[in-house]
Amino acid sequence: MSNENFRRELNNAVDQISGSPSPALRDRVRSSLRGASRSAGPNWIAAAAAAVIAILLVGVLVVANPLNRPNRQGPIAGTSPTPTPSAPAASPTPSPSLPAMVCATNQPPMTSSAPAVVFIDSLRTGTHAGYDRLTIEFKNGAPTLVDAQWQTSTTFTQSPSGQTLTVQGTHGILVTMHGADLHTDYTGSLDIKTGYSGLIEVRRVQDFEGVVQLALGVSGPGCYRWFFLSNPDRLVIDIQTS
């Protein structure tokens, strides 16, 4: 087989596998470039500085243990849940001897390197064959806890005002991110009307005291999925459309 024949056959195979990109790809890219912030300086400097500070801080806390409190640890199988006599009853600091008190079922374990607050720097939407997608990008890590609650209505209660808001669509999803911030780095719209068939609207419900809630107005069969991607950290929510 000659080089030309091989090349032609290979190119046909690639064409078969890839097809052509959707006409919307260019607009998607342009739109996401406009919505994406650019860092002011080299990221590695900020990352290195943060790492050094974190290491120093952890080192000081581990060596000095200034409050003479036990380190925060997860429960150890087989240990007795005996209260620590020196720990005040109302102390918010968990003790390894009181694991049941700190292990809330819906909270993942927190590590010392986890940032207290992660900054959302972009909200992006896109439509694909079979689903619409919302991508929430974080600047400095993933939030400590994320929850997504499906609801049959499209009305949500804002916090802290207590006022209600209604988004477009037939159903709603309330996405709650603990340890997140939408007002420091994010400069885009807080009420995104997509014009898609599945994900109709994305609107801020709360951005207060480290809790961010987004209301998603959706339509369609009522199915969705969510997952995390890393580097950069982002939460992806897909709404099925067919």
């Binding site: 080089n3 195979a13 890219v29 470039l33 890393s230």
Partner: protein, 166 residues
């Protein structure tokens, strides 16, 4: 390139425009999923925009630099971890989905290769990148790139000689 480096997103988008099609093809072949390929290209574009200073205004290296970001994004997509699946029915193909032609032997053989093996083949044969640019995209030496292309090609057609490949 100057205005893009200075922070003009529209200028950067214009620079990327001619690269989106090859980037998509590369991603589609690496991932075997057209929707995921478009996502990968979109994410890679944002990363490229954020890292544009690394290019130091070298427009001649833009293509290989961007394609290497796309390839990395594809690798990360393949490694992605699903943290939760709440409720998701099977997504069926749209009834008007285009009718696929029967895959050729080479098509099937290509899909049997690992994504890392497909990558140099697409770069060299499909996108017509010269060896030096394939090497820059893969971040390896030209001789290593040549060797990877040949090895992958031989896995598709075991009777190929080096002269027939290059």
């Amino acid at each position: 390139m100057t205005s893009a480096t200075a922070g003009d997103a529209n200028s950067f988008a214009s620079l990327l425009d001619p690269l989106l099609d090859p980037a998509y093809r590369l991603a589609a072949v690496m991932l075997g999923d057209r929707g995921a390929a478009e996502d990968a290209v979109q994410e890679a574009s944002i990363k490229a925009w954020r890292k544009l200073r690394q290019l130091r205004g070298d427009a001649g290296s833009l293509r290989s630099w961007f394609l290497s970001i796309v390839a990395n994004e594809c690798r990360m997509t393949r490694r992605q971890r699903w943290w939760g699946v709440l409720k998701m029915a099977e997504i069926e193909k749209a009834p008007n989905a285009e009718v696929e032609t029967a895959p050729s032997d080479l098509h099937r053989a290509l899909l049997r290769l690992s994504p890392e093996e497909r990558l140099p083949l697409v770069l060299h044969f499909y996108l017509d990148l010269p060896l030096e640019e394939v090497a820059r995209t893969l971040r390896i030496s030209p001789s290593a790139a040549k060797s990877r292309i040949y090895r992958a090609a031989r896995r598709l057609r075991s009777d190929l000689t080096m002269e027939e490949v290059f």
